[in-house]
């Protein structure tokens, strides 16, 4: 079924009888050509592009719970491609370009809203670093603009520039950045994949891999063994847990990142703002909630919930730049499990086991990467060579000393 305004009107006039499930609820088959483990954004996107761009058949997505229940359904919905390093920027810019045509591509309105993202600058050294970054973005074909404090103030008149502990000395803007309705991304990919024959199997937990003579033959699941020619893992925060079943240790730790939303408010924030001297970033959703976040809690966790000190730290940052938010109320806080890699950059690579592929290490940048991650992982699964924008995302980069460390924090995941 194709969604459109006309279809909505027709159904409204005829009692909404023809709407069918957005995706089927199939029983797993005994074997597939490709199994993607993880029904999150990346897994569903992978399946979608495998079917659509790489014309693969017999594909299944296995999800232990309900699709979209991981980080794609619990992030702060920001998209951007304001990266610095060679290994990253082309990939994230590819992703942003995919976002720009996504809704028409998969026929689902995910509300991709390019309302711009702004990183505030508070010191000369920070300005130098942001100039270098902005130049890297432009040299890679992305957009970037350096804004003066006056330009910023014109857009955000209630920004605290008068009594700021860390004076605002301008900002690096990416106008093509913005926000997306996160759940709809999972649903859109799921619906698009399903309509191309992909089996999306919920409540099917992978409990092990069947590996013989260095080759992966399929997966053991809570619903029995399912054979596969190729198995791709895209389970974000659960990566270490899953890959340990193939006796792999990953360059990664799982950390909790909290996110927050306020009560619905009439529009005040046109774009996304990031506070460069505190741990705070914020945007406003189409429903009116201020959606904001900050730093990791900082300790290994699989608990999908955080603690009070981080909540306070984030709100302190918010009050420092937007003192008018004091009278808005925090409505809900939640946590997601981040697959924090050792250099803050992801891995899309084959493993040493034939037929077993890995996609993970997204840290807290996974959402914006969803389309390109799916596209590149599909490319790798289909062709056994990396997509041109994802060649640096290899397992062996740590052993070889080819880290992609945007923040320069080294091999301590919670600092990225």
């Amino acid at each position: 079924m194709r969604y459109s305004g006309l279809k909505v009107i027709k159904e409204a006039l005829t009692g909404h009888k023809e709407w069918t499930p957005a995706w089927r609820d199939p029983e797993p088959q005994s074997e597939y050509d490709v199994i993607v483990i993880g029904g999150g954004g990346h897994g569903l996107a992978t399946a979608y592009y495998l079917a659509k761009e790489y014309e693969q058949k017999r594909i299944a997505v296995l999800e232990k719970g309900w699709i979209g229940g991981g980080n794609v359904g619990r992030n702060t919905t920001i998209i951007r491609s304001n990266y610095l390093l060679d290994g990253n920027e082309p990939f994230y810019e590819f992703s942003l370009k995919l976002w720009e045509g996504l809704e028409q591509d998969f026929n689902y309105n995910a509300m991709v809203s390019q309302r711009g993202i702004l990183n505030l600058i508070h010191s000369d050294a920070q300005r130098d670093a942001f100039i270098r970054r902005g130049n890297a973005m432009l040299l890679n074909g992305a957009d970037a603009e350096m804004l003066t404090t006056a330009q910023i103030k014109a857009r955000y008149p209630f920004l605290n520039t008068e009594d700021a502990r860390f004076p605002i000395k301008g900002g690096l803007a990416q106008h093509r950045g913005g926000t997306v309705r996160h759940d709809a991304v999972a649903w859109g990919y799921a619906r698009g994949a399903d309509s191309r024959g992909v089996d999306i199997i919920q409540n099917c937990e992978v409990t092990g891999f069947r590996i013989e003579n260095g080759k992966c033959l399929g997966v053991e699941t809570s619903r029995g063994f399912i054979g596969a020619k190729k198995v791709g893992c895209a389970v974000a925060g659960s990566s270490s847990r899953l890959m340990s079943k193939a006796e792999m240790r990953l360059p990664m730790e799982s950390h909790v990142l909290q996110a927050f939303v306020s009560e619905g408010l009439k529009p005040v924030l046109p774009g996304v703002v990031t506070f460069g001297a505190g741990h705070f970033y914020v945007s406003q959703s189409d429903k009116g909630g201020l959606v904001f976040g900050g730093d990791l809690d900082g300790y290994n966790s699989y608990a999908q919930r955080g603690n009070l000190p981080t909540v306070e730290d984030v709100c302190e940052g918010g009050m420092a730049i937007f003192p008018a938010f004091g009278r808005a109320r925090l409505l809900r806080m939640w946590g997601g499990i981040m697959d924090m890699s050792m250099d803050g950059s992801p891995i899309i690579d084959r493993t040493h086991i034939d037929g077993l592929y890995f996609n993970g290490g997204w840290c807290y940048g996974g959402f914006k990467a969803t389309p390109a991650s799916g596209f590149c992982f599909a490319h790798l699964l289909a062709n056994d060579v990396p997509h041109p924008t994802a060649t640096a995302y290899r397992f062996d980069r740590f052993e070889k000393g080819l880290m992609i460390d945007e923040k320069g924090m080294g091999n301590q995941p919670n600092l990225h």
Binding site: H16, A22, N135, M146, A164, R165, F166, W187, A324, G408
Partner: protein, 978 residues
């Protein structure tokens, strides 16, 4: 306007009248009222509009679970959107406005959405607004956004202040209803440190809302007497107006106390609210229960509310919601409401009970049947009842109470991912076994719905929590009615029957969600927005779950609940931010010469919480460059002084001190002579440069190590890690002395002359050569330290005295140095001189550069074990194509060479694929008369003299440059050895 619906009795203070304004109209109520009760007393039922369809809304509840009666409270900078009228304590002069309407509240133009509701079903927006692609941002989204949100912020800075605090107790009791009060009484009498917190301003919970008695007194009187006794116990802290917002790990709870919200404005210097972090051994959750509504056609009109709310308004606030009230119930609670209201003289139109065995009454009519529709545009006028025989009966009523049973307040039992379990007896979820550490649940929150059950539950919980021995004390006699409830969630055949009244989610939407495959409870929530409103589904979720369960052919517990998340009720962001606002966001660190620098007009800059003098403008100087150029030239010509106290300092002592430095620095320290200083480069274990500084050997077993200002803390932490975790038997003692010593750089050809007049010892070049260090005295005996080190490339010293003498030393240097025209210089001049000298600093030590990149590859000793040396040898960090530090100067001396610009081949294309490197630090060199920069270039050491392009498309720079050595000045180092 008079208080037409005010009844007799209640717990309001009729001696105190509070005048207030709602939507510009003046009203009067009493102290002890909420805004909601006062509005109802004045006959106002219409208080707001719903989110999507802009349907008229009145109060649904009498508590913090209210989804409908949300207002903008106060005006000006104190305007507070989405404030529940049901929790606003009335004060004289209160000002409130309704919200979310275009035009007036009565004639809201956006009510057109209600006419279009058939088009605006759950998730409709995912299926449309996609063509043409560019129209989303330009047309559709702006329209949607404009309609979004409920109340509005003033966008003025919040004028109130907020405190944070910390409390410790043996037992935290959440909720001061019968269970909580009884628990507090037992624990308090037993001598435990008890905190009892309740969100309400009046303690007692439902006891204040019911006509039930405890022992021989009314419930409210028993509560008052109990609170009086608790108040007399020094070990009990009673906290009204305090909402416990979340249960965090290991017995930590967040609680917000509203100190000033019931006042016209908070007292001067006092906070509006306090965020308490409560550390407790045990917790009793006695948070009560919330009544649930029933879904039927048009069940959302103003006047339709929970039956328990009708009782609260009547019994506690002495307010009838209307002169004529009908009740729709599936259990005995509806009859309790009818009896209470009848006793107060309110006309009961009828009690509609779905149960065939409903109790009869002499006082009012009881109908077996269901309410199937209602009428009344801005407020309820009639309810249509379908009787058991199928006939329709119309009831005239201005209020209708819904009693669908009660949901225990399990919220906080689930904050650590515990899941509630289903209890058939009360047809509701009750706390599961997986509770937060130390939590015990009592009373209605635990599913004990009678007063006697609550008292007993509270007493038992207290005994359990404190491990008290012996029997429970005799509890007062109280109501102990059994539950008689027929689960009933919605009237069959209804469609526009509201579940989530704020977000406009109806039974029809749940059905559509199921039809389209959004059947998991989380999908249901996200697709329909059920339970995502400001009440987080407290009154709506159960109905949605029950209907989804029925559609899916499952039992309710199989469908499960969504996850309960903090905060329990929405919490002001200001309270979570506390005092850390404006200038107090982070503490400031001031240098010992700060006062002196202020007196001399310094401009300050923030560096790692320090405020450092950036430059010292003099009269007649119109740009910062003039000041900085002057400071640089004066220093290089004669002598300058700069406060460098901010550099981290670590005192390293012990017999293994030299060995220790050998481990943390990549270069060697074992052979450094006493009285000498050496530059040290510290690597992270991954082989990347971490920090640099100097180590001065004051004695065989004593070094003073310096770090960069920004890295003082992480470097100290790293040193302790190496000492305690890697080499636990090493005899080294560490302590930070950053703030113990005031330290000044004195630089320039006259620095020795100047210092000779201060230092008591001889500091000739022979006696005190380059890189010497010593404990000295100055000015006739003050202990001090002297280091002959140079960041500027000049003959230079750093001199340190105990911090309390720092101000005096600065003044002394300026006084003594006058004859040499000593010039104070700030961080800008410091930066210029180090760039001229090619010294790496923070911009170069950016966490991705190696010793090799910095031109110090040979420093990494291969003869010893040091942190990072092994991993620094990886192939990817060595060999052809590595970046190395170079100098960059413009071919045309008038061109800029900005930091952050990228290096490209002179004739090649300008794009990412041809990027050769970048400029890290740049300045105008007054010494050379043109701009210079240092930066990193691929194979840079082999490219001296090469012409390249330096481009910064971001800032519009594209210039020809020449690659040079980074040592722009005195490359042989003759000056600093002079």
């Amino acid at each position: 306007m008079t208080q037409v619906n005010r009844l007799a009795g209640g717990q309001i203070d009729r001696t105190k009248t509070c005048n207030f304004t709602f939507d510009g109209n003046p009203y009067a109520g009493h102290s002890g009222d909420t805004l909601a009760s006062a509005l109802l007393a004045n006959g106002v039922r219409l208080m707001g509009r719903s989110f999507k369809y802009h349907r008229p809304r009145g109060v649904l509840t009498a508590g913090s679970e209210e989804p409908n009666a949300l207002v903008e409270l106060r005006g000006g900078a104190r305007q507070e959107p989405n404030t529940r009228a049901t929790t606003i304590e009335l004060y004289d002069g209160l000002l409130a406005k309704s919200q979310n309407h275009m035009g007036s509240l009565r004639f809201d133009l956006l009510a057109i959405n209600d006419r279009l509701s058939n088009f605006l079903t759950a998730g409709f927006y995912y299926k449309t607004f996609m063509w043409p692609a560019a129209f989303w941002e330009k047309l559709y989204e702006p329209i949607i956004r404009k309609a979004a949100g409920l109340g509005s912020l003033s966008l003025k800075d919040d004028p109130d202040v907020y405190d944070k605090g910390f409390l410790h107790c043996d037992l935290l009791i959440i909720g001061a209803g019968p269970a909580g009060l009884m628990a507090a009484l037992i624990a308090g009498r037993a001598g435990a440190d008890v905190i009892i917190a309740d969100e309400d301003f009046a303690l007692g919970g439902r006891l204040n809302s019911e006509t039930l008695s405890i022992a021989d007194q009314s419930g409210a009187d028993w509560a008052a007497a109990t609170i009086a006794e608790l108040s007399s116990l020094p070990n009990v802290r009673i906290m009204p107006r305090t909402t416990v917002i979340g249960a965090f790990d290991h017995g930590i709870y967040g609680a917000v106390e509203r100190v000033g919200d019931h006042l016209h404005t908070p007292d001067a210097n006092k906070p509006r609210q306090v965020l308490w972090r409560i550390y407790t051994q045990k917790t009793i959750l006695a948070a009560g229960a919330i009544e649930r509504p029933i879904a039927f056609e048009n069940n959302d009109r103003p006047g339709i509310m929970l039956g328990s709310a009708l009782r609260t308004y009547a019994n506690r606030f002495a307010v009838a919601a209307d002169k004529r009230v009908a009740i729709f119930t599936n259990n005995n609670d509806g009859h309790r409401t009818a009896a209470d209201l009848h006793a107060k003289g309110v006309k009961i139109s009828a009690v509609v009970d779905v149960r065939p065995d409903a109790p009869r009454s002499m006082d009012y009519e009881v109908l077996q049947g269901e309410v199937v529709d209602t009428k009344g545009r801005l407020g309820l006028t009639f309810a249509e009842v379908k009787l058991a025989d199928g006939s329709i009966r119309t009831l005239e009523c201005g209020a209708l109470g819904m009693s669908g049973g009660w949901n225990p307040n399990v919220h906080m039992t689930c904050h650590q991912r515990g899941r509630p379990v289903w209890n058939d007896g009360i047809a509701a979820f009750v706390p599961g076994a997986d509770l937060p550490t130390g939590m015990i649940v009592a009373g209605a929150a635990n599913g004990d719905m009678s007063t006697a059950g609550a008292l007993k539950g509270g007493a038992t919980a207290a005994k359990l929590a404190l491990g008290l021995k012996g029997r429970l004390p005799k509890l007062p006699k109280a109501e102990d009615a059994p539950i008689n409830l027929k689960p009933f969630w919605y009237v069959k055949g209804c469609s526009r029957a509201w579940l989530d009244q704020q977000n406009d989610v109806t039974v029809k939407d749940v059905k559509l969600s199921h039809q389209e495959g959004f059947r998991s409870v989380e999908h249901l929530k996200r697709y329909t927005t059920l339970g995502m409103a400001t009440d987080q589904g407290k009154t709506s979720n159960m109905g949605g779950l029950a209907i989804m369960a029925e559609l899916a052919g499952k039992a309710i517990p199989e469908v499960g609940t969504t996850i309960f998340r903090p905060p329990y009720t929405p919490t002001a962001i200001g309270a979570l931010g506390g005092r850390h606002r404006g200038q107090e966001f982070h503490p400031k660190r001031l240098t010992p010469s700060h006062k002196w620098a202020e007196e001399h007009g310094a401009v300050f800059v923030e560096v790692g919480n320090w405020l450092r003098a950036q430059w010292f403008p003099r009269e007649g100087e119109t740009t910062w460059r003039e000041s900085v150029d002057r400071e640089v030239l004066a220093t290089r010509k004669s002598v300058g002084v700069c406060d460098v106290t901010t550099l981290g300092k670590v005192d390293v002592q012990g017999t293994d001190a030299a060995d220790f430095l050998n481990k943390i620095y990549c270069n060697g320290f074992a052979k450094l002579a006493v009285g000498k200083t050496r530059y040290g480069l510290m690597l992270r274990e991954d082989g990347i440069a971490m920090d640099d500084g100097t180590a001065a050997r004051l004695a065989e077993d004593h070094f003073v190590v310096t770090t960069t200002t920004a890295n003082a803390l992480p470097v100290y932490r790293h040193m302790e890690f190496v000492r305690q975790c890697l080499f636990p038997d090493i005899d080294v003692q560490l302590i930070s002395t950053t703030e113990a010593w005031a330290q000044y750089a004195v630089a320039g050809p006259n620095s020795r002359n100047l210092l000779s007049a201060i230092v008591d010892q001889v500091i000739s070049n022979e006696a005190f050569p380059f890189m010497a260090c010593a404990n000295i005295t100055i000015c006739g005996g003050l202990r001090a330290r002297l280091f002959r080190i140079s960041f500027s490339g000049e003959l230079a010293y750093e001199i340190a005295v105990p911090t309390e003498y720092g101000d005096a030393l600065m003044r002394k240097i300026m006084e003594v140095g006058a004859q040499y025209d000593v010039t104070p210089y700030g961080t800008e001049a410091l930066g210029v001189m180090r760039i001229e000298k090619g010294h790496a600093a923070g911009n170069e030590l950016n966490g991705t550069t190696t010793a090799l990149n910095l031109g110090m590859a040979r420093m990494v000793s291969k003869k010893k074990d040091s942190i990072g040396s092994t991993l620094s040898e990886r192939d990817g960090l060595n060999g052809d194509g590595q970046l190395s530090q170079v100098g960059i100067k413009p071919v045309d001396p008038n061109d800029p060479v900005p930091a952050g610009a990228h290096l490209m081949d002179a004739d090649g294309p300008v794009d990412a694929a041809h990027d050769q490197g970048y400029a890290t630090s740049a300045c105008y060199s007054p010494h050379l008369g043109h701009a210079i920069a240092i930066g990193f270039l691929k194979n840079g050491t082999d490219r001296m003299g090469e012409r390249m392009r330096l481009v910064s498309p971001l800032t519009g720079v594209d210039v020809q440059v020449e690659i040079t050595s980074a040592h722009f000045i005195d490359p042989e180092g003759e000056r600093l050895r002079a």
